[in-house]
Amino acid sequence: GRARENECQIDRLTALEPSNRIQAEGGLTEVWDCQDQQFRCSGVTVIRRTIERNGLLLPSFTSGPELIYIEQGNGISGLMIPGCPETFESLSTQEAWREGMERGMRGGRFQGQGQGRQGRFQDQHQKIRHLRQGDIFAMPAGVAHWAYNNGDEPLVAVILIDTSNHANQLDKDVPRRFYLAGNPEQEHEQQQGRHHQRREFQEQGQQQQHHQRRGGESRRGGRQSDSGNVFSGFDTRTLAQSFGVSEEIAQRLQAEQDERGNIVLVQEGLHVVKPPSRSYEEREERSRGSRSRYGSMN
């Protein structure tokens, strides 16, 4: 059931290059043509991302699972797995900075753990994982994730999306990426053919007309665009209510004026709590050392 009828009657295979490039503030996304017979037959699509130094890939998810190969560079990634606790806890950088200032002003030594530190930790988030050259990263369908290049060279990742996986119940040959921030354009949108897009908009238009005929006038004037994040389509007021924040912040979530693309630059670098990074050689050496040192001990 992986391919539709006639999609695998291939007479000739060719090496394929990316057919579309999307430049963003902090990097580049290259997309292979998902309509190519080879991809349609195998039920997958492939993209390659190059995240520049200090580049942050906006959080997103797709309807099919992904396998990601880190071709070059180092970075970190955060997954938002439903139901998982925020196990990483920290002082916020501001709080740490303020604490540092206070210490400096007092001119004294750092005060003990027990004094004045209770209730100070300001941030909690889910586990952060390191991305290293040569890693394969498995991403379950629908799990949102972000990535940041904290290395000295571009972080290059080759990403396979299994659109024919049983987890994907949306389009089988065109992956849909849902962003939680920014105003990025769809990676595969241009390849779907203009007629497909027109048909979709026509259908949406008909749906809205239908609602209006039923007396349910569209309250937001029907934002229609091929870029945006999942918050853009909500009513700003409802969104503000849902988050318990001002409408000004809710508008920032919707990011309609954001032109940075799907990879943004973090000028001052991203400071988050993460596990210490060790190279493969260091880890090997450490495990060899601990084996010889502790021998038969438990």
Binding site: E86, R214, L270
Partner: protein, 185 residues
């Protein structure tokens, strides 16, 4: 041997009983989930269901279904439902009334807000263990991200990012804003 498996299988479960609710808030409502864990026959059918009740003006957190389409049927009352596609376009922003159905495709984001009459619905989901991810609230995707990341992706200050992340302490069902304690019988 079918009588050992299919013929004697439990085929039904009541999801309307408030005492069976999986999520309950005296100010916002309740939510009951039926999946292959509490009704094993659903793993054969690869389907599941959910029953929800939202009290007056309460909100169900913005969320998306990870692995299923959701077919929402209005049982009682009315709610404003907003559904957004991958391009961030609103594909549905209307009231759903008793007896009406709306389909929420997999991964499309949705918010339900009950009107002053409140709202009850049943959702049929096209996966035996359907999962949803909330986008606001205590167990949401936003809570999973560091404040620094939130601040950078939404171009807001760290204080605003902190507020955005921690303002809502509820998980799934949100009490209406500026409304005192409203216990419903």
């Amino acid at each position: 041997g079918l009588e050992e498996t299919i013929c004697s299988a439990r085929l039904s479960e009541n999801i309307d009983r408030p005492s069976e609710a999986d999520v309950y808030s005296p100010e916002a409502g309740r939510l009951t989930t039926l999946n292959s864990f509490n009704l094993p026959i659903l793993s054969f059918l690869r389907l599941s269901a959910e029953k929800g009740v939202l009290y007056r003006n309460a909100i169900m957190a913005p969320h998306y279904n990870l692995n299923a389409h959701s077919i929402i049927y209005g049982v009682r009352g009315r709610a404003r439902i907003q559904i957004v596609n991958a391009q961030g376009n609103s594909v549905f922003d209307d009231e759903l009334r008793q007896g009406q159905i709306v389909v929420v495709p997999q991964n499309f984001a949705v918010i339900k807000q009950a009107t002053k009459e409140g709202f009850e619905w049943v959702s049929f989901k096209t996966c035996e263990n359907a999962l949803f991810q909330t986008l606001a609230g205590r167990t949401s995707a936003i809570r999973a991200m560091p404040v620094e990341v939130i601040s950078n992706i939404y171009q807001i200050s760290r204080e605003q990012a902190h507020r955005l992340k921690f303002s809502r302490s509820e998980t799934t069902l949100f009490r209406p804003e500026n409304q005192g304690y409203q216990r419903r019988e």
